[in-house]
Symmetry: C2
Subunit: 160 residues, 2 copies
DNA sequence: GACAAAGTCGATCAACTTTGTCGGGAATTA
DNA sequence: TAATTCCCGACAAAGTTGATCGACTTTGTC
């Protein structure tokens, strides 16, 4: 049930891009890597995959870099995770995008399959309905929350 | 987001045991392996782990074998998956049973973490609230369903 | 045009994990 | 004692993960 580093880094980079001031133009891999603490060359590889999938667009040369190819509310985490991490389903026989039949005599009465189908649906429900825009929005709300908490309790250490 | 073969085999074996007529006594690894098409020696290893965790009990020698150590409604898939497959959480910083801090400056405002927490909760909600008894019950219902469907349409090929 | 700053690409690699296998031992029953 | 079954640790082949590398192409600037 684990998300790979590839998936993790990819999502972080995309969130970084989505929450970046659009006026600043494209972001370079080096910038993002430094910002998010990701090995540069590994991230390069990931960005390429994201680009080939049509999620990012890029421009080489001075002033170049990567930017989202679509508005953030049209990029779901489901797409990204499937691309970088493979199918969401815990077992292939419950995958919608990478279905593979299993060995059990009857898929419709297989206990394992029945439960894993629930799991895959729960995961897909979240990831396919969460866009980059949703994420950045949520992050902002969380930031405001902690900010206002600080306002009420200016100094953590003293107020104990 | 994948379930390992270890986890898969373990769950299948447990379901097999749970849906087995208790009057027949313990089941041998060989039987279960043949029944569920699992490599015998690999299953042996898995059953041992399940036993050491207190989920199974065993008896060596002729007439021996494995049986559930507790009633099926007291064994959750969550326990089993965690034991055989590791934490449910996609990333360590949202795990309840194997928490590890992540590198991001503030966990409370990390977009990745916020969404993955949802995912981990969705998974845990299902697996921690699904017992072996639930599974076998559901399997029986599914079997009745397909059985009654057969009654209404006795011959599949002809009724097309 | 030359140069620097990016992205592009394919290959390769070490470490780790997964999925088993093997050989012998210990407990239990007949 | 013999057969059966679980118990245990070691090991190994194959696959996956998480990178790294070197050479190349494209773009903008002087």
């Amino acid at each position: 049930m684990k998300l790979s580093k590839r998936g993790e880094y990819g999502i972080k980079a995309l969130i970084d891009l989505a929450s970046r001031d659009p006026a600043r133009g494209a972001a370079t891999v080096k910038e993002i890597a430094a910002h998010q603490k990701i090995p540069v060359q590994f991230l390069e590889q990931i960005m390429r995959a994201l680009k080939n999938a049509g999620i990012l667009r890029s421009k080489p040369g001075a002033g170049g870099g990567y930017a989202l190819a679509k508005p953030p509310d049209q990029i779901t985490l489901g797409q990204v995770v499937r691309l970088l991490d493979g199918p969401l389903a815990p077992i292939p026989c419950v995958s919608k995008t990478a279905y593979q039949p299993c060995v059990c005599p009857d898929e419709n009465t297989c206990g394992l399959r029945l439960t894993m189908l629930d799991v895959r649906n729960a995961i897909a429900d979240i990831l396919d309905n969460t866009t980059l825009a949703d994420v950045t929005h949520r992050v902002q709300q969380a930031q405001h929350l902690t900010a206002s908490r600080k306002l009420r309790q200016p100094s953590r250490t003293r107020s104990r």
